[in-house]
């Protein structure tokens, strides 16, 4: 219901003056706005919008699912473009009541979905042609990267989201991590589990990953290679024997924005290095 409501707003988009106070919610949306060269029109972002670094200078209206209606209104936006799942619903409803156009663009982990997201954002910003150009170049870039990836030996890749407390949270099926692994010519080692889940040590042994993939950032995600390979579940895997671990920036790897080609190329490169 919500989605159809949002789509109807999308259709009924006012085509009068160009919105020049745009609030961008969601890391990939912000990246697209920058890639379209329309960043001058941004007045705010959410806390997941951390690329490019300039974006972090914009006022941060908080986490995408926990927007404060008055906080959002305080940056005085005349257009809000958001990834799926902005909330709470009460806040979104109040923003509608205050007559702020609110456009939600669909998320997805396929080439089609990324291109559609680019076109949707461009349409919202009323720069449809730039959007087509960007979609074409992202598509070409991704095709090229996939061509490279096609030559990669299909390794079993285990994406580890966190090893906090010695318990491994890994990516199952239908996750952004699983999608990017497959685009890069790898194979998600964890099958039969949906989403990001804590998995048992035995399940990891059975998954027998050739490579471990992790996000490159501080905090509990930054387990050192030694710690990682000393973990009882991982120690017995082929990845530990070859000491194969790939670390990549989280937003690049899992963002599914305009840099998806770069993400695939980088990951495919790392994977073929491991295989070679």
């Amino acid at each position: 219901m919500i989605r159809s409501l949002l789509l109807s707003t999308l259709v009924a988009l006012p085509t009068t003056a160009l919105a020049d106070r745009v609030l961008s919610i969601g890391g990939s949306v912000t990246e697209i706005v920058y890639a379209l060269g329309e960043q001058e029109r941004l007045v705010g972002r959410d806390s997941t919008s951390t690329f490019p670094t300039e974006a972090t200078a914009l006022p941060d209206v908080g986490y995408i699912r926990q927007l404060s209606p008055e906080g959002v209104l305080s940056v005085n936006p005349d257009l809000i473009i958001s990834e799926t799942g902005a909330g709470p619903l009460e806040a979104v409803e109040l923003l509608r009541a205050a007559d702020v156009p609110f456009i939600e663009v669909a998320d997805g982990y396929t080439e089609e979905a990324v291109l559609q997201k680019i076109r949707d954002v461009a349409k919202a910003l009323d720069v449809t042609e730039k959007g087509e150009d960007l979609a074409a170049s992202v598509s070409a870039d991704l095709d090229e990267a996939e061509a490279v990836a096609a030559n990669v030996e299909p390794l079993r890749v285990l994406f580890i989201l966190s090893t906090a407390g010695g318990r491994i949270t890994a990516a199952g099926e239908n996750t952004s991590a699983s999608a990017i692994i497959e685009l890069a010519g790898g194979m998600n080692a964890i099958q039969g589990v949906e989403g990001y889940k804590q998995v048992s040590d035995e399940a990891i042994t059975v998954a027998a990953p050739d490579v471990i993939l992790m996000m490159d950032r501080s905090g509990d995600h930054a387990a050192s290679d030694d710690d990682l390979f000393a973990h009882p579940a991982i120690a017995g895997t082929p990845a530990a024997q070859t000491q194969s671990v790939v670390r990549m920036d989280g937003l690049l790897l899992l963002g599914f924005g305009p840099r998806v080609g770069e993400a695939v190329r980088t990951l495919a490169g790392e994977l073929s290095e491991t295989a070679g």
Binding site: M1, G44, S47, P59, D60, V61, G62, Y63, R65, Q66, S68, P69, E70, G71, V72, L73, S74, V75, N76, G85, G87, P88, L89, E90, A91, E93, L94, A97, A98, D99, V100, E194, G195, Y196, K197, Q198
Partner: protein, 356 residues
Amino acid sequence: MVAMTHVDAATASDRSTTARWVMVALSVALVAISIASLFVGATGLSPLGVIGDLVAGRPVDLRAQVVIFDIRLPRLSLGLLVGAALAVSGVVMQGLFRNPLADPGLVGVSAGAGLGAILAIVLGGLLPPAVGTAMGYSLVPIAAFVGGWLSVIALYSISTRGGHTSVATMLLAGIALAALVSALSGIMIYLADDAQLRTLTFWGLGSLAGATWSKVLAAAPLMLVGIFGAPLLARGLNGLALGEPAARHMGIDVQILKRFAILLVSAAVGAAVAVSGGIGFVGIVVPHLLRLSTGPDHRYLLINAALLGAIILILADMVARVIVAPAELPIGIVMAIIGGPFFLWILLRRRGLLEM
């Protein structure tokens, strides 16, 4: 004065004078803070401009109108009600269990409400689309309320035998129920996807950010019943402070008292938790601050707790909404960060009085 036979008579009358003055001071403070809260927010808009425009019949900026009348005003109302309801329920629970650590959670209402909310967040998508659409964002509050009530009914029937409710059994059964509920919540957390996990976390931290008029109107009657009904229990709770047999000798029907107290608390807390999530702290700290300053007489305690609870929650919400503007902190965090050290400080200064 019955409850105070153990207190020196002169002190008691001093204290009741103090309590009356505190009541006046808190009422004035509540009015002032309520008005102030309408002036505070991320947009920096002042209600005076909007009201001036309305009075003069000038066209009003729609956004300003939404900010004042649809964001800040319902939020203030919800803060008043939730703060008062939680603080009063705390007083009633501590009186009923004759235990200074009792909080509204003891009747199982918070645990049950939490489970209801978690079930709604994680499994809400499985409802037939028609039901989901009709419920909209009321689904979580309604589920929380129903969950709260179901667990109170369960606890009450477990601990009531032959027309007598044993508070000790209720306490223990409450612990068992809380363990069961937390296990069920754990299962839901395991099933939840990333987005739902975030929602769960934020729900647990509590917030008044989702305040809308429809929520206020739906939850207000139940909280008002709790807030205004509780003072009727004052004499009974004062009697109960001397122990159940003594209260019976004073002609208090202890069973009816218990039943009403539990009913009022579940109504008030169930509604409060449903609309604002898990806001802790108020139910314990407010009653103790007041006992430390004005003594244990429930006639004053219940009214003062309502006033002070509302004041503290509105103050915390004012901080929550501007401190990281344009984003917003969950109010539970603000409450604990400001309230924790403050409460410790009071305790250190007046620990001699704690032997209640």
